[in-house]
């Protein structure tokens, strides 16, 4: 059972403190939505968990294994997390299939698990099927629509069977219909696969429809933390009430 623990994590850019020291436990199987207005530090927090950004202070652990402590830690490639970027970040020089296969070829952990091409092929096909792209594996990204590229990115994260999947506003570049469809799909995927998801968004609908836990952030601190129904039905007075009433 994997558990992600943040202890006193803070982040400062120059003189600006963008994350106040915050502590957080994310337990197995939860779908955590990080919800908040633009600039409140959601992406920064996610990138610290990913290892793409170093926290100024604090510690980060996964199942008791130290990811970051005392100003040093594991580089992103050794954490084994999956990540889906807002800009998709699907590699234009590789086909959809090759994009999804890439982690299996480079990650130390997965290389051992999928030692040969046939085993990789099976895993990639499974992942593509999950996002319903099984027929489009041979296409290059420029031959795919935005929504399809987004699913390639998702399949690339899922194929790693990561202990934690990180998503940074993955739906914001899609149109309304596709967004609704992907919301449903993500929720179903989470239920069927049982992985831990950390999902950054400023869209309340995404947060409340998919997650099992909502963290509302304001200016680098957590303003409210609870199950979606509780946050929606009983928002903390002040910032959260105001923010939720805006949409």
């Amino acid at each position: 059972m994997s558990e992600l623990v943040l202890t006193g994590i803070s982040k400062q850019f120059g003189a600006v403190k963008v994350l106040q020291p915050l502590s957080l436990k994310v337990s197995d199987d939860s779908f955590v939505a990080l919800l908040g207005p633009s600039g409140c530090g959601k992406t920064t927090l996610l990138r610290i968990v990913a290892g793409l950004e170093a926290p100024t202070e604090g510690e980060l652990r996964l199942d008791g294994k130290t990811l970051w402590a005392n100003g040093a830690g594991l580089p992103p490639e050794d954490r084994g997390f999956g990540m889906v970027f807002q800009s998709y970040a699907v590699w234009p020089h590789l086909t959809a299939f090759q994009n999804v296969e890439y982690p299996l070829k480079v990650s130390k952990r997965l290389k051992a698990q999928y030692p040969d091409a046939p085993s990789r092929r099976a895993a990639v096909e499974r992942a593509l099927k999950l996002v319903r792209l099984e027929t489009l594996g041979d296409r290059y990204p420029h031959q795919l629509s935005g929504g399809q590229q987004q699913r390639v990115a998702l399949a690339r994260g899922l194929v790693m069977e990561p202990p934690v999947l990180l998503l940074d506003e993955p739906l914001s570049n899609l149109d309304a219909r596709l967004r609704a469809e992907m919301r449903r799909e993500l929720r179903d995927l989470h239920r069927s696969l049982g992985i831990t998801i950390l999902y950054v968004t400023h869209d309340q609908r995404e947060a409340f429809e998919m997650s099992t836990r909502v963290l509302v952030m304001e200016a680098g601190r957590i303003a409210q933390d609870g199950p979606p129904d509780e946050v929606r039905g009983n928002p903390a007075p002040g910032f959260v009430t105001e923010f939720l009433s805006e949409a």
């Binding site: 807002q86 800009s87 970040a89 020089h93």
Partner: protein, 507 residues
């Protein structure tokens, strides 16, 4: 022995092969240096990477033959300042030419790649790290394939630049009897007469074919690439790149990057400075230092004539080129004029063709005109024409970009207010594009002021320029005076280079 227009075939083939080898080797070295430095300054926590980025655009502004002279001061096998550090032949020979040209030409791929790294969505690289790939692997399998078109572009520019180079091969190749096409053409023309001109034309045809082949090859490679999947560099909103932490490699990497800058810029400057102060070539004792060389150069009649000529030629030609480019770009971009677009495209030919070829064609044109009874008066006219042809395309393209970046509604609003074309140009476009025009002017004027490759072929009585005087001093073995003049010019070029570097950063 087989001959080609009166030249031994072996000589021609040797020079052609050497030109090709030089171009290819410099392109490869420049690509490697440029890529390493661009990656270090854009994607890692290299100490001082901001400052380095600015400094690395400086060599671009330095006339390569000044650096060539500096390297002769350092690496002359008998009297060189650092002769013990060089192999037995000193700096002379093909390897020396490659090194000196590469210390300038790396800037082509470097600048292309810097811009490409800026455009490349860092999430593409970050996604690979999240997939489990370490920095080296990400560079090899993600960054490099995506940046390949920019790298190729930069390498082609370096290839054309080296193929066209005259000063460095003359300074560093000739003493070892290693001629390339440009230096062979020069020596054939010095022989004089129609024979020399004909041989020169034949050789320059070979040079032109090589340049064309380089361009065609790179175009083909780029198309191959495009066919195999997209090369789209950036689509989505890009974020700040997560810097690669160099860790234990940080200090050695910084040492290498700053060391390269010191070797490419600081060391040559110091060498010329010391040599300018030396009473005779090779005597570098501080106790013997003298200002006599500087004084001799400044009072030399040739130098004074050259200074006046170069300043007049540069001011006149650069201003005319920018004015013409302003009009052409306006007509092409804002009025959709086919003729103007075509003219800008056509100017690309002398821009990419080796200067030697441009100068020779002008010489031939002048000969033909003279036969037809239209005398072309004096070397300055020919040099002005050569400079204008050579640098017009760069200026026109830069200005056209400037026009294209301004929203059409600005002009439409002025036209609705009643402004006609000339008023529009004067009251709207000129003030709006002042910065662009200034940059274009500098981009023309800098290389014109110290131009050597074409000037040396077109010069004549009364037509000395800074480049030709310097070349003569060096050829007639007045090393101390040559070093003094070179040091002054390099200092001016460095100052201008550093000044334009900080301008770029503000913009």
């Amino acid at each position: 022995m087989a001959e080609l227009a009166g030249l031994p075939l072996g000589t021609v083939a040797g020079a052609a092969a050497r030109s090709l080898a030089l171009g290819t080797a410099v392109a490869a070295a420049a690509g490697a240096f440029g890529m390493a430095l661009a990656w270090l300054t854009s994607r890692t926590d290299l100490p001082g990477r901001r400052a380095l980025t600015g400094f690395f655009s400086v060599p671009y502004a330095l006339p390569p033959y000044l650096l060539g002279m500096a390297w002769v001061v350092l690496g002359n096998p008998t009297v060189g300042l650092l002769k013990d550090w060089f192999p037995s032949g000193g700096i002379y020979g093909l390897a020396g030419m490659v090194w000196v040209l590469a210390t300038v030409a790396f800037a082509f791929p470097f600048l292309e790649l810097r811009a490409a790294f800026e455009r490349l969505d860092p999430a593409l690289e970050e996604a690979a790290r999240m997939s489990g790939a370490g920095p080296a692997r990400v560079f090899r399998e993600i960054s490099l394939p995506l940046l390949w078109p920019s790298l190729l572009n930069g390498m082609v520019l370096a290839f054309l630049f080296s193929l066209a180079a005259f000063g460095v091969p003359a300074l560093i190749g000739n003493p070892a009897r290693q001629y390339v096409l440009t230096t062979l053409i020069y020596s054939q023309l010095r022989v004089g007469g129609m024979d020399g001109l004909n041989q020169g034309l034949l050789l320059s045809l070979i040079l032109l074919v090589m340049a064309g082949a380089g361009l065609a090859l790179s175009g083909w490679l780029a198309r191959q690439r495009a066919r195999r999947g997209g090369t789209a560099v950036s689509g989505g909103k890009s974020s700040r790149p997560a810097l690669v932490l160099l860790g234990r490699a940080r200090v050695p990497a910084a040492f290498a990057a700053w060391g390269f800058l010191a070797l490419a810029v600081a060391l040559p400057w110091i060498a010329l400075f010391l040599s300018a102060l030396a009473p005779v070539a090779g005597d570098f004792r501080p106790t013997a230092w003298t200002l006599r060389n500087l004084e001799r150069v400044l009072t030399m009649a040739d130098f004074q004539e050259a200074l006046v000529n170069s300043l007049l030629l540069t001011l006149g030609t650069a201003t005319a080129v920018v004015a013409a480019g302003f009009l052409l770009a306006f007509l092409a971009v804002r009025r959709g004029s086919r003729a103007a677009s075509w003219a800008i495209t056509a100017l690309g030919a002398p821009f990419s063709a080796p200067g030697t070829v441009v100068a020779l064609l002008l010489l031939m044109g002048a000969t033909v005109a003279a036969r037809a009874g239209i005398p072309v008066d004096g070397p300055l006219v020919l040099m002005g024409a050569a400079y204008a042809l050579k640098f017009a395309a760069g200026a026109a393209r830069g200005i056209a970009n400037g026009f294209a970046q301004v929203h059409p509604s600005l002009e439409e609003a002025a036209r609705i207010s009643g402004a006609r074309t000339f008023t529009l140009l004067r009251t709207l476009w000129f003030p709006l594009l002042k910065g662009t025009l200034g940059a274009a002017w500098l981009l023309c004027a800098l290389p014109m002021l110290t131009e050597l490759t074409m000037s040396v072929l077109l010069t004549g009585p009364g037509g000395a320029t800074l480049g030709t005087v310097l070349f003569q001093l060096q050829e007639y073995a007045d090393q101390p005076s040559a070093a003094a003049l070179a040091w002054m010019l390099l200092t001016v070029a460095l100052i201008v280079g550093f000044a334009t570097r900080s301008r770029e950063k503000e913009a």
